[in-house]
């Protein structure tokens, strides 16, 4: 029984076009008791975690999804004949990091931290759907306010904003080493 649920969930994650949240799984499997679904999910994670298979079960952006194992990247690119995926520019990464830690935030607050105008970068991030507009600040001028999206979490393989590097982690790195510039 529990094995069956596990297999159904495996199939659901496989076909889902985006990370499949436990809530959605429960919605689809409304006929089954919640505890059984939770147990099946845990078993599934254990199964996939135990062996070093080619397919991994990743928990990101509040849901589950299958990906290939990072080590196999060269083979996959050889098969699909694609170059390495392009990374975000430094400007985009800086802007994104600021939004991630200070959200909700306005364009001028971002500019104040970066020391440069960031309108162009904000636009690019909006187009890439890594950030979104969520309203306005009630200060004079009523500027637009930005937040990161689910796609942002997925892009970095984070499950939630709580997975962002913590203050302590950052402080430790600051002391540890002079990270080289650029």
């Amino acid at each position: 029984m529990s094995e069956d649920i596990r297999n159904i969930i495996e199939a659901l994650i496989f076909v889902s076009p985006e990370p499949l949240s436990p809530e959605k799984i429960k919605e689809v499997l409304a006929d089954f008791p919640e505890e059984e679904i939770d147990r099946a999910l845990k078993e599934l994670q254990e199964n996939y975690g135990a062996n070093n298979r080619g397919i991994c079960l990743l928990q990101s952006a509040g849901g589950y999804l299958f990906t290939t194992r990072p080590e196999f990247d060269p083979w996959i690119r050889r098969l699909l004949q694609i170059e390495r995926k392009s990374r975000l520019s430094q400007a985009a990464l800086e802007t994104l990091a600021i939004i991630a830690y200070h959200q909700p935030i306005t364009a001028s607050e971002i500019a104040a931290i970066r020391g440069v105008d960031s309108t162009g970068t904000i636009k690019t991030l909006l187009e890439k759907k890594l950030i979104k507009i969520v309203g306005r600040r009630s200060t004079p001028g009523r500027p637009l306010v930005y937040r990161t999206t689910e796609k942002f979490l997925l892009y970095f393989g984070l499950n939630s904003l709580e997975d962002l590097p913590s203050e302590e982690e950052i402080a430790r790195l600051l002391e540890e080493k002079d990270i080289e510039q650029i």
Binding site: F14, V15, P17, C56, L58, L65, F66, T67, T68, R69, P70, E71, D73, I76, R84, K85, R87, L88, Q90, A91, L93, E94, L96, A97, I98, A100, Y101, A112, I113, R114, G115, V116, D117, L126, E127, K129, K132, I133, V134, T149, Y155, F156, G157, L158, L164, P165, E169, I170, L173, L174, D178, I179, Q181, I182
Partner: protein, 249 residues
């Protein structure tokens, strides 16, 4: 030629920095200075030396660098002024603001390096490239939209309208009845009316809208037949002949 190349290389160097704070941080690190206790005079000199190596300042990109230079010079001058009273609070406050900014910026740079690692790992993972097809009646592409999409979509629709070159004539009243009669008269003279063409001839957006309402009214009243072959194609309009025949009977 040589000096030209040299100039070029400086050009490239400044491009490396994401902004004035980035450059400042670089100079501080280079001299192994304590960020909490920066000797303003030294760092101002370094900063200005750096900028001076650039022959042409690109104001679009470098205004922020110049602004920082001005600020550093101001700080330095304030600190060098002979003081009759003890340390000017305002200056030390401003200095503290700069230090805080640098610290915040440094933290952000570290976060970036951590995110870069995550990006690196995530980019080597591959997702299934295709989304399963669900058989449905509609064949429309379904998307997930956010507020930016919504605003952008509206913006482009309006842009499109603008490009259609409607002139706005203010104060001109267009009566529905008149417009309706105009369309009917046109249809009496020509068998088929290309409605998009007709809309384009309208002198104002308002009048075009009125014309559109009229068409809808005429269709509703079963006086005309409007037909659109497919999406985004023009609407062709005919007079409903059987109606006229019925009436003459």
């Amino acid at each position: 030629m040589e000096s030209g190349e040299l100039q070029e290389s400086y050009q490239v160097r400044l491009e490396i920095f994401e902004g004035p704070l980035d450059l400042l941080l670089f100079l501080i690190k280079k001299r192994k200075l304590n960020i909490h206790d920066i000797p303003i005079a030294v760092i101002t000199k370094d900063y200005l030396d750096y900028l001076a190596k650039k022959q042409n300042i690109n104001l679009n990109r470098e205004a922020e660098f110049l602004l920082m230079a001005a600020f550093l010079i101001y700080l330095k001058s304030q600190m060098l002024l002979p003081r009759e009273q003890p340390q000017d609070d305002e200056v030390s406050d401003q200095r503290q603001v700069l230090v805080d900014k640098l610290l915040e910026y440094q933290k952000m740079k570290i976060t970036c390096s951590l995110l870069r690692q995550k990006e690196e790992e995530q980019q080597r993972r591959w997702f299934r490239p295709f989304i399963p097809v669900v058989p449905t009646s509609e064949e429309e592409e379904i998307l997930e939209v956010n507020l930016f999409d919504l605003a952008e979509c509206f913006y482009f629709l309006m842009k499109q309208k603008e490009n259609e070159d409607f002139k706005v004539l203010k104060g001109r009243e267009v009566s529905l009845e008149k417009k309706m009669q105009e369309i009917l008269d046109l249809l009496e003279r020509q068998p088929v009316l290309d409605f998009l063409e007709y809309l384009k001839q309208q002198p104002s957006l308002e009048e075009a809208l009125v014309a559109f309402f009229c068409l809808l009214e005429l269709v509703r009243a079963r006086l005309v037949i409007a037909f659109q072959e497919s999406l985004f194609q023009t609407i062709k309009v005919w007079l409903r002949r059987e109606k006229l025949i019925e009436e003459t009977k």
